[in-house]
Amino acid sequence: MVVYISEAHALDGASPNTMRNAPLVEEPITFEERYSVAGTCMASLALKRLPAVVDGMDNATNRNYQAQPDRIYLVGKDGKIAYAGRRGPRGFSPFELEQAIRKELQPAEPVSEPPVPEQELKN
């Protein structure tokens, strides 16, 4: 699930992206604007196959997960954090996520019976 959060390099933000070809996006100031930019983002980057949600303007989810500018987590079936990626962009590792998913989906090892003491076997 993609969680769209506030812009990392908005043109009117504290760290603008000055690269050529970078999209010219202002930091949304209303939820409607944020929702609209999120839609453009998912469409432009061909990510529409992934489910996506949009963080509220209080940025609570972003803050709780310290997600800015980007970060990956895997939440296990038990509702606990199974993998916590490092802060992006350097710590943004889809490879690590793949490993974590494989581990999470592995069937649980069968619980082995405790070995029967030798004396009991003789009896």
């Binding site: 699930m1 812009e7 933000g13 989810t61 972003n62 997960y65 038990d78 509702g79 954090i81």
Partner: protein, 163 residues
């Protein structure tokens, strides 16, 4: 940041594509949107997007946005101050660790244009105009709660933005 992931792919595709119309510059975009009196400068009132955003763009700090601000180095005094503030704020909360309960959230689901169009079409077929209006007035936007997946399946959370 999600932009960075697919940038190389987009660039590769663009090499084969016919020449597209040139994208506007930052100044062209701002002037078109905010220079309501056409005097080639934008006042804070015309801009109307808050003090921080204005200070970030006003590289020479003269209280107006002009083409010169966009040609000047992007790190004007306002932007430097706001960057410091942002860094201070981001250090106050620790990220959740492995093995701890994932902080819950309930957020609005992003509906893609195709889905919206499909829903509108089916709603057109199925309901009368009055019924449709009533439904639209009472229908809540669809949300997703993280904890609703607990006990059912794991969830990968990919946080990011366009830039």
């Amino acid at each position: 940041m999600l932009h960075a992931i697919t940038l190389s792919l987009i660039l590769a595709l663009q090499q084969d594509a016919p020449a597209a119309t040139q994208a506007p510059t930052v100044w062209e975009l701002l002037q078109q949107k905010y220079d309501s009196n056409g005097d080639f400068k934008i006042s804070p009132k015309e801009h109307g997007r808050g003090e921080d955003a204005f200070a970030n763009l006003d590289a020479d700090g003269d209280g107006f946005l002009t083409q010169v601000d966009m040609e000047a180095p992007s790190w004007g005094p306002g932007r430097r101050a706001n960057k410091r503030k942002k860094n201070m704020r981001s250090r106050t909360v620790q990220p959740p660790k492995v093995g701890t309960v994932a902080p819950d959230f309930e957020l609005r689901v992003l509906m893609h244009e195709e889905t919206k169009a499909k829903e509108a079409k089916s709603s057109e077929r199925a309901k009368s105009k009055q019924q449709e209006l009533q439904t639209a007035a009472t229908k809540k936007p669809e949300t997703m709660r993280l904890s609703s997946f607990a006990g059912k399946k794991p969830v990968a959370l990919i946080f990011g933005s366009y830039t």
